[in-house]
C-alpha cells in the first residue's frame, strides 16, 4: 500500500498533478498560520520582562533554526530514497531542499546575530549552538557546491545523496563535540538565557510560526521541484501534452 503510493509518487506526471492540486491548500493554510502567528507574536504576546520587545525576533529565529535541522533530515531521507529506489522525484526534492535549508540556516544565523548585538553586546560568540549552526551551513554549502560541480545532474544527485547520508551520521557527532568543546571552555555567562516556563501567550505564536515555516518550506520545495521537473522532462510526452491543452 505504502510502496504503491511511493511508486506512484515517483512518476513525474502524477507528482506534477498531485502537487498542483495540493499547492493552493498549502498556501492558504500557510497564509493563515503566518497571519495568526505574527499577530499573536508581535501584538498579543507581552514584552519580555528582561529583554523587552527585542525578544520578538524569536518568532523568526527559532523556527528558522528548527527548519535548518529539519530540512537536513528531509534531505537525508530523500537521499536514501533516491539511492535505494532511484526515484527521480526524490533526487529533485533532495537538491531543492538543500537550497532552502541553506537559506534557513543563514537566516537563523543572521537573526541570532541581530538579536545578540543588543542582548549580549556582541554580534557573535563562539557558543556551542552558534558554532554548530555555522558548521551546518558549511555542510549545506558543500552539498550545493558538489551538485553544481557535476554536469550530469542524475549523477550529481546520487553524489549529493551519499554526501547527505554521510552528513546526517556526522551531524550528531559534530553537534556534541562542539557542545563539549564549549562547555569545557569557560563560556560567557549570559549566552543561554534559561527559559523558565515560557508564557503561553508567547509560546502559542511560536508554535504557530514553527508550523507556518514548515508549510512555507513545503510550498517552496514543491514549486521549485515542479519547475525543475518540467525542465528535466522538457522533451518527454507528458510535458508536451500538458502545455498543448490550455496552459
Amino acid at each position: 500500500m505504502i510502496m504503491r503510493f511511493i511508486y506512484q509518487l515517483g512518476s513525474p506526471p502524477y507528482f506534477y498533478a498531485l502537487s498542483g492540486r495540493l499547492l493552493p491548500w498549502l498556501s492558504g493554510i500557510c497564509l493563515i498560520l503566518f497571519a495568526t502567528g505574527l499577530y499573536g507574536g508581535l501584538v498579543l504576546a507581552p514584552a519580555d520582562y528582561q529583554q523587552g520587545d527585542s525578544f520578538r525576533i524569536i518568532y523568526i529565529h527559532v523556527p528558522a533554526a528548527w527548519m535548518s535541522m529539519f530540512v537536513y533530515m528531509v534531505m537525508a531521507f530523500s537521499g536514501a530514497m533516491a539511492l535505494i529506489w532511484r526515484i527521480k522525484i526524490a533526487e529533485i526534492i533532495l537538491i531543492n531542499s538543500a537550497h532552502i535549508g541553506a537559506v534557513f540556516t543563514f537566516l537563523a544565523l543572521v537573526t541570532g546575530s541581530i538579536w545578540g548585538k543588543p542582548m549580549w553586546g556582541t554580534w557573535w560568540v563562539w557558543d556551542a549552538r552558534l558554532t554548530s549552526e555555522l558548521l551546518l551551513l558549511f555542510l549545506y554549502l558543500g552539498v550545493l557546491a558538489l551538485y553544481s560541480a557535476i554536469d550530469d545532474k542524475r549523477k550529481a544527485a546520487r553524489a549529493v545523496a551519499i554526501l547527505a547520508l554521510v552528513g546526517v551520521v556526522n551531524i550528531p557527532i559534530i553537534h556534541y563535540s562542539v557542545e563539549w568543546w564549549s562547555t569545557l571552555h569557560q563560556g560567557p555567562t549570559i549566552t543561554k538565557f534559561d527559559k523558565p516556563s515560557i508564557d503561553t501567550r508567547m509560546l502559542i505564536p511560536l508554535l504557530l510560526m514553527a508550523v507556518a515555516h514548515k508549510f512555507l518550506y513545503a510550498i517552496v520545495v514543491l514549486l521549485r521541484a515542479r519547475n525543475d521537473l518540467l525542465w528535466r522532462e522538457r522533451r518527454s510526452q507528458w510535458v508536451a501534452t500538458l502545455f498543448k491543452d490550455g496552459s
Binding site: G142, A145, L146, A159, V169, N170
Partner: protein
C-alpha cells in the same frame, strides 16, 4: 579476499616509495605551516605553549587535506580503479587497504614529526605524550573521512576546492577532541575522556567510511 587487501596495500606502498619526492611533500608542508605560526604570532613562549596543540593539529588537518587527492586520483587516471571496481573483490575492503596505505604514507610521518615540533613550541612532556597518542589515533580518521570526499570529487576537473568544503566540517570533531586531550594533559588533568572519544571515532570511521566511499566511487566512475 584478505590476499587482495594485502596486494592493494603493498602496491600502494611500492608506488609511493617509487615517487620519493612526492612522499616528502605532505610532511614538509606540515613543518612549514607549523613554522609559520611563531613567525606570525611572535615568539612569546607562553602564547606558543598555549596554542601549540591547535597549531600542530590544524597543520595536520591541512597536510592531510593536501595529500588526500592521491588516494584515488592516479588510479582513476590510469584506469586501475575501474579494474578494482569490476573485480570480484569487495570494493570496501580494497578501499580500506587504500586508506591504510594513505595513512602510512602521509599520516605516519606527521605522527612522528608532530611531537618533535611541539617540543620547539614549548609544550610540556605530558602534553607531548598525549599529542603523540592523539596524532596516532586521529590521523587515520582524517584519511578515512577524506576517502569519501575524494571518492565524491575524483571525477571532477576542479575537485580540490570542493573537497576542502566537503571534508573540513567533518574533521571538526577530530580537531576538538584531540586538542582538548592535549590541553587537558598539558594543564595536568587526565585526558582519558577525549582520547576514548577519538578511539571511538577511529573505529566508527574505519568501519563505515569504506562503504560510503565505495558507493561514491561507483557513482564517480559510471
Amino acid at each position: 579476499m584478505l590476499q587482495a587487501f594485502f596486494i592493494i596495500l603493498q602496491r600502494d606502498l611500492i608506488l609511493a616509495i617509487r615517487h620519493r619526492a612526492e612522499l616528502m611533500n605532505p610532511v614538509l608542508f606540515f613543518v612549514l605551516v607549523v613554522v609559520l605560526f611563531p613567525l606570525g604570532i611572535g615568539a612569546e613562549a607562553t602564547i606558543l605553549e598555549r596554542i601549540a596543540p591547535a597549531i600542530i593539529w590544524i597543520a595536520a588537518l591541512l597536510s592531510a587535506l593536501l595529500s588526500l587527492d592521491r588516494i584515488f586520483r592516479t588510479d582513476m587516471e590510469d584506469g586501475s580503479l575501474e579494474q578494482m571496481l569490476i573485480s570480484a573483490q569487495p570494493m570496501s575492503l580494497l578501499i580500506l587497504a587504500k586508506i591504510i596505505a594513505h595513512w602510512l604514507i602521509t599520516g605516519l610521518p606527521v605522527v612522528i614529526v608532530g611531537p618533535l615540533l611541539a617540543l620547539f613550541l614549548g609544550l610540556s612532556i605530558e602534553g607531548i605524550e598525549t599529542l603523540f597518542i592523539t596524532l596516532l589515533l586521529g590521523t587515520p580518521i582524517l584519511s578515512a573521512i577524506g576517502s569519501v570526499g575524494v571518492a565524491l570529487t575524483v571525477g571532477l576537473r576542479r575537485g580540490g576546492v570542493i573537497l576542502s568544503l566537503l571534508v573540513l566540517p567533518l574533521y571538526v570533531p577530530v580537531l576538538i577532541f584531540a586538542s582538548q586531550a592535549v590541553d587537558a594533559a598539558a594543564s595536568g588533568f587526565p585526558p582519558v575522556a577525549a582520547i576514548a572519544m577519538l578511539s571511538a571515532l577511529l573505529l566508527l570511521s574505519l568501519s563505515l567510511t569504506p562503504w560510503a566511499a565505495s558507493a561514491a566511487l561507483k557513482m564517480s566512475v559510471s
